[in-house]
Amino acid sequence: MQDVTIYITDREGEKHTVLAPTDMAMNLMEVVRTYELAPEGTIGVCGGMAMCASCQCYVTSDHKINAMEDEEDAMLSEAFNVKENSRLSCQIPITEALNELEIELAPDV
């Protein structure tokens, strides 16, 4: 299994290039936390259950990613700063299809 490259723009606008493993059942929120690209306590607050929207991100590249399930969709309907390309990063598993994915972290609320 290959690692994939992900481009993550943090909340201060700084762009980071990180490597994420595809064989550790990780999701995108966990990758952001692993690389400490957002302060602890401001991301993945619910642990990754699509229940808090603290890991909201905007997908800015043209990747085909897993479709949104009802829980994620419902949470985003109540979140702030939601855009067309909003996703909860905890609901995006890291797969090889995500190589060179580009995301921006949504503001902390």
């Binding site: 302060p39 306590g41 259950m49 808090c52 419902a74 109540e78 702030f80 609320v109």
Partner: protein
């Protein structure tokens, strides 16, 4: 003034288990929590989610874990200050502490154990100009007393259970209830959604979707709100605006207590999970140290060690002997006693 041996800030799983461990050492506990019910995240965020890594429980719902922990600690008669946030701490001359909540309730204890998880749950406030100006002047994030809204025009925003349930409840109290949600779909219990639908059909609730509140109006207090739908903005009269967008945890005032903070968590010594202020401990998700794992089971371990340290601190001269519940049983503060039944010794003839 409430007096206790260990004042626990945060009534999540770690705080609740502390009651039990402290009780075995004959120390009494009182818990403060910003939420109106004990259980922390487990009961507030995900009571129906199964947890698979609690030792001895192949699977347990978060809400059931909370109930079990309450049951386990019940005999030690913990006190609770719920729905109040620990605001300030003052060290007394004798080394004890007085902790005061945002509602002015005072607690006095020689030991403070912060088990605050990710912080106290605060309402998520929509980004609207001047919303702070209208707080308590028509804008509320919780409904404490529904009677306040009798014969008033109320606008509720949100798409979850609380927005639906309060809209339904206030339909019989308020003069007019308008529920505004960004989507057409609501996320709530099926019967709530159906009830709201019925009330809409008989004009007891106005439901406006997909729409958003985009401005608040009024001189001294809320007099109206702007609702934007399909790019069109309309102003309606309102006496109250209640945004119900859920809660998010904030470390809050504890961050200003002079404790050493790192990565939004309180640094502790892993010897006994004491902070840089002697007598104040931090356990569970709220603390940090090298190798920290934010797991409930680690919180239980930290609570246990912390109680031993607190006991030694309160009883400096006493020799301490570790007791096993299988051997010593449990003497509750309520007069109950639990012990393992004696084996039957009898000759078989």
């Amino acid at each position: 003034m409430i007096k206790t041996d260990i004042l626990i800030i945060g009534a999540g799983p770690t705080g609740l288990f502390t009651v039990f461990e402290a009780g075995l050492l004959k120390l009494k506990c009182h818990l403060i929590d910003a939420l109106p019910q004990p259980g922390g995240q487990c009961s507030e965020l995900y009571p129906k989610k199964p947890i698979y890594d609690i030792p001895g429980f192949p699977e347990i719902l978060a809400g059931d874990l909370t109930s079990n922990l309450l049951q386990q600690g019940k005999q030690f008669q913990p006190g609770f200050t719920l729905g109040e946030r620990a605001e300030t701490i003052e060290k007394q001359e004798d080394g004890s502490f007085i902790v005061t909540t945002n509602k002015g309730t005072q607690h006095h204890a020689p030991i403070v154990a912060i088990a605050g998880g990710l912080g106290s749950f605060e309402p998520r406030k929509p980004k609207l100009d001047n919303i702070e100006k209208y707080e308590d002047k028509g804008v509320a994030y919780f409904i404490k007393d529904p009677e306040v809204y009798r014969d008033k025009k109320v606008v509720i925003a949100g798409g979850g259970d609380s927005a639906l349930d309060w809209s339904i409840f206030l339909a019989d109290v308020a003069e007019e209830v308008t529920l505004v949600h960004r989507r057409n779909e609501f996320r709530g219990a099926l019967d709530s959604v159906e009830r709201a639908q019925e009330l809409k059909l008989i004009n007891k609730i106005n439901i406006i979707t997909p729409a958003e509140i985009t401005a608040l109006h009024g001189d001294e207090k809320i007099e109206g709100v702007s609702i934007t739908k399909d790019g069109q903005t309309e102003r309606i009269d309102a006496d109250a605006f209640i945004p119900l967008f859920g809660l998010s945890p904030k470390l809050g005032p504890i961050g200003d207590w002079g404790l050493e903070i790192e990565k939004n968590a309180i640094k502790v010594d892993t010897l006994d999970y004491q902070t840089n202020i002697p007598g104040i401990y931090a356990i569970g998700d709220v603390n940090t140290y090298e190798g920290k794992l934010k797991l409930i089971l680690c919180g239980f371990h930290e609570a246990t060690l912390m109680c031993q340290s607190a006991y030694k601190r309160l009883n400096p001269g006493k020799k301490f002997v570790l007791k096993y519940t299988t051997v010593s049983g449990i003497d509750g503060f309520d007069g109950t006693r639990k012990e393992s039944p004696k084996a039957v010794v009898k000759a078989i003839v």
